[in-house]
């Protein structure tokens, strides 16, 4: 594998994230997003050397649902295509590897989630260990709340600090026309104590797409490519009772391997659907107050499950494309209580 190959995010597009998109199918939701990303890169449908997507059948309630969404990519003549049953950030990782091997110079990566079709709190409980945890139906908020209480007990945060995180993210989302919540929301009642409505992400539908390209192809497609300087992902045991829920060693390790600590960062897009998770991620990623975190509003402002992590990579890349940042960190998570974490470091060329 030619690991010296330079690979960049050259285009990023996303839908407007909304509580419900009952009027469109997955393919119909994806089409304008794919069109936007491909147009930015100057690619026709089906022209990318590799296509990789992230989504989950459990959100749609249908097997092989990604094959229906494939209608939107232009699969004739036959294309090289793959799918990950998790957040699209991991689809991006697969596409990055594919380009490193030299098998592809360009890749289209997309992800979508329509949480509105089901009850996402319950749906996510089906990803738990099926012997000891899943039969109890602990929902996604309950598990995050156990982690939040552990943080509070450890003296690392309190409910006021969590509310401030919620406010900061949703205030930032005021500048993001795609976000679902674009202004602070009331802290609200406890959903599962200690997490209140305001500490939880909105439930909604949305899609995102990025184009990756190598070397000179990337330079041709984008005035200022967001080069992937490092990317790594690590997973922790599925059993919550084995883990220290106040820590995220997998994120720390992925960040080290991605080179996140080698030089100062201009911004970080982290994937923290719950306010309490931002506390942990800031700690392990060593993000001080000098580094802007989630200027997009993050997952607390829009959480199209399965696309939220890919959007973090896209948002960080877009800031580099626009010349607003030189070096940015992007983080994606999957599984309960930050079980599986991906960290990427993106850089623009020095002017």
């Amino acid at each position: 594998m030619d690991t010296t190959r330079d690979v960049a995010i050259v285009a990023f597009a996303q839908s407007d994230h909304r509580r419900s998109t009952a009027e469109v199918s997955e393919a119909e939701m994806l089409l304008p997003v794919l069109r936007d990303a491909l147009d930015q890169a100057g690619l026709a449908p089906g022209e990318a050397d590799f296509t990789c997507s992230g989504s989950s059948d459990y959100l749609a309630g249908r097997p092989f649902s990604f094959t229906m969404a494939l209608d939107s990519v232009g699969a004739w003549p036959p294309i090289a295509e793959s799918h990950v049953e998790t957040d699209g950030a991991w689809a991006l990782h697969e596409a990055w590897v594919k380009i490193l091997t030299g098998d592809a110079d360009t890749a289209l990566v997309y992800a979508h989630g329509k949480s509105s079709a089901g009850e996402v709190r319950d749906v996510l409980s089906r990803q738990l260990d099926p012997y000891y945890a899943a039969p109890l139906w602990p929902d996604a908020v309950a598990l995050a709340a156990l982690q939040a209480q552990a943080l509070i007990d450890a003296g690392e945060t309190d409910e006021h600090a969590l509310a401030a995180i919620a406010d900061r993210n949703r205030t930032a989302a005021g500048g993001n026309p795609h976000a679902q919540l674009r202004a602070p929301v009331p802290a609200g009642d406890y959903v599962v104590r200690p997490l209140r409505t305001g500490d939880c992400p909105p439930v909604g539908d949305g899609a995102a797409a990025v184009v990756l390209a190598a070397g000179d192809t990337a330079r041709r497609m984008c005035r200022r490519p967001a080069w992937i300087r490092g990317i790594d992902h690590r997973v922790e045991p599925h059993a919550l009772g084995v883990r220290d829920l106040t820590d995220s060693p997998s994120t720390r390790l992925a960040a080290e391997h991605a080179g996140a600590f080698d030089a100062p960062l201009d911004l970080a897009e982290i994937h923290a659907p719950f306010t309490s998770q931002e506390v942990i991620l800031r700690k392990v990623l060593r993000l001080g107050d000098d580094v802007p975190v989630c200027p997009s509003g993050g997952a607390l402002a829009a959480n199209p499950v399965m696309a939220t992590g890919l959007i973090r990579l896209g948002e960080a890349a877009a800031r580099i494309h626009r010349g607003e940042a030189h070096r940015a960190l992007a983080h994606a998570t999957s599984g309960p209580c930050l079980q599986h974490n991906l960290v990427a470091v993106l850089e623009g060329d020095r002017p």
Binding site: A22, E23, V24, S25, E26, A27, E28, L31, P32, L34, R35, P45, G46, Y58, G61, M68, L70, D71, S72, V73, G74, A75, W76, S116, A117, G118, E119, R121, D122, R126, P130, Y131, Y132, A133, A134, P135, L136, W137, P138, D139, A142, A145, L146, Q147, A148, Q149, A150, D153, D189, Y190, V192, R193, P194, L195, P237, A239, L240, G241, V242, L245
Partner: protein, 321 residues
């Protein structure tokens, strides 16, 4: 744009799962009111037990018994229990480190209110009255503020009469299915006994049923194109497996054998699927001309039947096989 269609959809499975030796001993133990853990090579006790050390991936089989009393390591108050959760009244989720264990077990904690729960609270197992060898044999935990001598984990052979070797874990999720713009238009047209496809603006082919995108060009399709209702059987198979809910509006099963076919409706560039009836199954052939049949009040064709026209020339449908 008319109001998009939507319909309730339930996905339910009785997942049948086999257990390895450690999980089998643990779940059988719960049935017998005995809580087992497993000891790692570096002398930690994992409860609930797993078969491989989460740190080293070494196989671990050294079973130990721990006490049904323990300490809350973190908790979360659940004011509105959801379907399937262990208790139907408000309760706390808790991670509980049982006495003798080094890791914590997730379960429900029955307490009068959040003020009665704290990290460090002493609790004990409340056993379910009917136990079958499942995590739900622990009905929940309950506060147990009695001073007890904490005993270390002690060896256990994990052997019980009539061991549980598998579990059936029922799962049910409820959805509202929304087919989107293109399929809504198609389904509404079908209810009016018309078949509506969509023409691709790029390759000009007509797709039916339409999905809002040309599956070969990857571009949006919005131009409706009425096709059929007559069409040609391009290929088919004879089905000999009787399935529940096959087709019929009354919900009765279709008799076997029956023919399932690809049908190229006139004017369409994609063949759709349908059942062929009104002709003996062994007389269905490629090129047979057919038309859809709606039963009384049916919102979609129940089946296709022969039109009586001469068979279509192979050349007219060979591109749609």
């Amino acid at each position: 744009m008319p109001e998009p269609l939507s319909a309730p959809m339930v996905v339910a499975f009785p997942f049948t799962r086999s257990l390895g030796p450690v999980q089998s001993a643990f779940l059988t133990g719960l049935r017998e009111r005995t809580v087992l853990g497993v000891r790692t090579h570096d002398d930690r006790v994992l409860v609930p037990p797993v078969e491989y050390d989460p740190r080293t991936a070494e196989e671990i089989r050294d079973l130990v018994e721990v006490d049904p009393t323990g300490t809350v390591t973190t908790w979360a108050w659940n004011p509105a229990p959801r379907r399937g959760q262990p208790l139907t009244h408000p309760f706390a989720w808790a991670l509980v480190r049982l006495d003798g264990a080094d890791t914590a077990l997730l379960h429900a904690l029955d307490a009068p209110g959040p003020d009665a729960v704290r990290t460090g609270l002493r609790v004990r197992v409340r056993w379910a009255e009917r136990r079958e060898g499942a995590i739900t044999d622990i009905a929940c935990f309950e506060p147990y503020e009695h001073p007890t001598a904490v005993r270390p984990a002690r060896p256990h052979d994990g052997v019980f009469p009539d061991p549980v070797t598998g579990i059936i874990a029922p799962a049910r999720l409820d959805y509202t299915y929304s087919p989107g713009r293109a399929q809504t238009r198609h389904l509404r047209a079908l209810a009016a006994h018309r078949v509506l496809g969509e023409r691709c603006p790029s390759c000009h082919k007509v797709c039916v049923p339409p999905r809002g995108a040309c599956p070969t060009c990857g571009v949006a399709t919005t131009e409706p194109a009425e096709v059929g209702p007559r069409g040609t059987v391009t290929t088919f198979c004879v089905v000999n497996i009787k399935a529940k809910n096959t087709g019929h509006a009354e919900g009765t099963a279709v008799d076997v054998p029956y023919v399932y076919a690809h049908i190229a409706l006139d004017g369409a560039d994609l063949a759709l699927h349908g059942r062929i009836a009104g002709i003996p199954y062994d007389q269905v052939r490629m090129g047979l001309r057919v038309e859809p049949v709606w039963t009384d009040g049916g919102r979609y064709p129940d089946h296709y039947r022969p039109t009586g026209e001469p068979d279509a020339d192979y050349d007219t449908y060979k591109g749609l096989l």
